[in-house]
């Protein structure tokens, strides 16, 4: 019997770890859960985590998850009261949100109009500027394409040329010298057209060594907006986040309050509803600029959950059901520190090329304050078809230092065999004295690339590894056992 009146069944329009995580909350709230599943993932962790696994078809798994019509039809057919889009895929697709609502099903997220407004980089920046909030100096091509290079130049160097419709790392070029501007525009436009079908660009001042700080927002249908604190996501590589944490290390209390307040005001001005995140660029001088708003749940939401004790997916569902927020801003408690690292199928020794393979053994770490959000299991094939992120490892501690120690320990205890991952690389970042000192900024991993390289093995460790491999190798063992010897040695080998 559902704990949230009006929401008896929710269809999760996603896969992998976020589908598993969302299903966990639905189960706790006694809400029937369903997920769309492509046949390549039939019987996988997400399919087994829900009450109903609904097949969706598509030439590739990704195309199936982007087929909005099929997903809406599925939701209607199974009698879902609401659709939870997770992150990625169609989570920020206003047309999909509108189609869900048009079918008489609740959309767990903000309204399509707000998604349209804040999901578009150019539109959201214009809106935020009009509301009087600070932005990094920028120029939009849309205003007047002919003068764009000129206006971009006027921003001052270094600058960033970006796809307006973009996200993640695609369609971004850093320009440090005037001579690079023309080709940066050309490359960015071609990538923008290729990945987003939209070549519009904008340019903004590139803050060197910035910190990426974002604020979690919750807003209900009555217009009440709260923040659940900030997250620092500065540890990135090629614009992909690797490690996220809360609270932001070394941030003065008044600065934290100003950033969080501003996020609340921006969300309120936009008429935001449900969960969302406002992202800012924090300059070394303490100035901060609106970067963008994500009109969905973020990958790194668990760190906020660990310090506040609030289940964000539950809040999303309650808000979608029309409930008012059950707590006031002053009632939210922030305890300790939490960090998350993204374990990805990538090989740091091959310039982070995507790794493939079959997962042979998956053993998550356990312990107090340790949370492992993965949608993986032994036997699963890791292919380049999906995002390389395999799992998130999140840890809570009474303070940052202890949380870092706990996370390092948990990473070492995480056993993932069969596919190369970046786990050891993540541990080296966490072990770095600069990280421990809180000197986080988006250039951290490039700056310390030599320190973060895989260390050589000493002879003893290498011998141990080779011995373990040789003694596990069937051909080697057979060969060894076939060697004639003067004395019997039964019992030396035990399988």
């Amino acid at each position: 019997m559902t704990e949230i009146p009006g929401i008896r069944k929710v269809l999760i329009a996603n896969r992998g770890e976020i589908a598993v995580r969302t299903a966990r909350t639905l189960r706790r709230l006694s809400i029937a859960s369903a997920a769309v599943v492509h046949d390549t993932e039939a019987g996988g962790p997400a399919a087994r985590a829900v009450d109903e696994a609904c097949p969706i078809e598509g030439a590739s798994p990704v195309s199936a998850h982007l087929d909005g019509e099929q997903i809406v039809e599925t939701a209607r057919r199974i009698g879902a009261d609401a659709v939870h889009p997770g992150y990625g895929f169609l989570a920020e697709n206003a047309d999909f949100a509108a189609a869900v609502e048009k079918a008489g099903i609740r959309w767990i997220g903000p309204t399509p109009e707000v998604i349209r407004l804040m999901g578009d980089k150019i539109a959201s920046r214009r809106f935020v500027a009009e509301q009087g909030f600070p932005l990094a100096p920028s120029a939009s091509e849309e205003d007047e394409p002919a003068s764009f290079p000129e206006r971009a130049r006027a921003i001052g160097l270094p600058l960033l040329v970006k796809a307006s419709a973009g996200g993640g790392c695609k369609g971004m070029q850093v320009v440090r010298e005037d001579a690079q501007l023309e080709s940066a525009i050309r490359i960015a436009r071609s990538e923008a057209e290729r990945y987003f079908g939209d070549g519009r660009l904008y340019a903004e001042r590139y803050v060197e060594s910035p910190r990426h700080v974002e604020v979690q927002i919750l807003a209900d249908a009555r217009g009440r907006v709260l923040h659940l604190g900030e997250r620092d996501c500065s540890i990135q590589r090629r614009f992909q986040k690797l490690i996220e944490e809360t609270p932001a290390p070394g941030m003065p209390t008044d600065l934290r309050e100003r950033i969080c307040e501003q996020a609340v005001e921006i969300a309120r001005a936009a008429g935001y509803r449900n969960a969302g995140t406002v992202e800012f660029v924090l300059a070394p001088d303490g100035g901060f600029y609106f970067l963008e708003m994500n009109t969905r749940l973020q990958v790194e939401h668990p760190v906020t959950e660990m310090v506040t004790g609030i289940d964000l997916v539950e809040q999303q569902i309650r808000i979608a059901a029309g409930e008012p927020l059950a707590f006031a801003q002053e009632e939210i408690r922030f305890e300790g520190a939490a960090l998350e690292c993204r374990i990805c199928a990538e090989d740091p020794e091959q310039d982070f090329a995507p790794a493939v393979g079959q997962l042979l053994l998956v053993r998550p770490p356990r312990g107090e304050g340790v949370r492992f959000d993965g949608g993986i299991e032994a036997g699963q094939r890791v292919t380049p078809a999906f995002d390389p992120m395999l799992a998130k490892l999140i840890v809570h501690g009474p303070d940052r230092e202890r949380a870092i120690a706990r996370l390092r320990q948990a990473l070492r205890e995480t056993v993932l065999l069969g596919c190369t991952t970046n786990a050891a690389y993540l541990e080296r970042i966490l072990a770095h004295p600069g990280f421990a000192a809180g000197q986080v900024e988006t250039g951290f991993v490039s700056r310390h690339v030599r320190d973060l390289a895989e260390p050589d093995l000493d002879r003893e460790e290498r011998e141990r590894i080779l011995a373990a491999a040789a003694l596990s190798d069937r051909d080697f063992r057979e060969r060894a056992e076939a060697i004639p010897r003067p004395h019997a040695f039964m019992g030396a080998w035990r399988n």
Binding site: V356, L360, L361, L417, L471, I483
Partner: protein, 180 residues
């Protein structure tokens, strides 16, 4: 005669060396007393090296052994004698294997075993990180083997297509005009 194992791009020789009551390993010319005993869970073992025991997790797939020791995973590949012998026996310049430039998935295959292809002809298309790459015949050849099927995933360096170079045209045209 020993075995070769590859670790971090280096090859190491490992020989089994029997002794009274057990077996030693000679690893890269260093003799060690080694024993591997089952641990407390499947996949978990105790590796004993010269009397010092440690926890280790191991999973193997064919010739590749994944070893999780002291919090880090290492990939050790057994380079077995049969493979070495086979490679040494292959006629030089007979076949050419086209390998994958990076890990990916096979999107489409346009030729089959036995097909005669021209230089530059599209043999298959692969996809990595959402970018599609054509695999072209480097020269006129005959397809000896298409090593993977559509939707198969592969690692960097994996064999994709094996081609046999076209025989040179004989002076009197007796080959029947096979080459182009």
């Amino acid at each position: 005669m020993g075995y070769e194992f590859e670790l971090q791009d280096r090859i190491f020789q490992i020989h089994p060396a029997p002794r009274p009551g057990g077996i030693d390993l000679v690893i890269d010319a260093q003799r060690v007393r080694a024993d591997l005993r089952p641990g407390s869970e499947p996949g978990r073992w105790r590796i004993d090296l010269d009397g010092v025991e440690e926890d280790v997790w191991i999973a193997s797939q064919g010739d590749v052994h994944f070893i999780h020791l002291r919090g880090r995973v290492h990939r050790v590949r057994a380079v077995n004698a049969l493979e070495r012998a086979r490679r040494a026996a292959e006629p030089a310049g007979g076949s050419e294997i086209l390998t994958a430039p990076m890990p990916g998935v096979v999107v489409e295959i346009l030729v089959e075993k036995g097909a005669e292809v021209e230089a530059g002809q599209l043999l298959m298309t692969i996809e990595s990180m959402k970018l599609q790459t054509p695999i072209l015949a480097p020269e006129a050849a005959r397809v000896e083997e298409v090593c993977l099927s559509v939707a198969a995933s592969f690692e960097q360096g994996a064999a994709l297509v094996r081609l046999a170079r076209e025989e040179p045209v004989e002076a009197d045209g007796a080959s029947g005009g096979e080459s182009r």
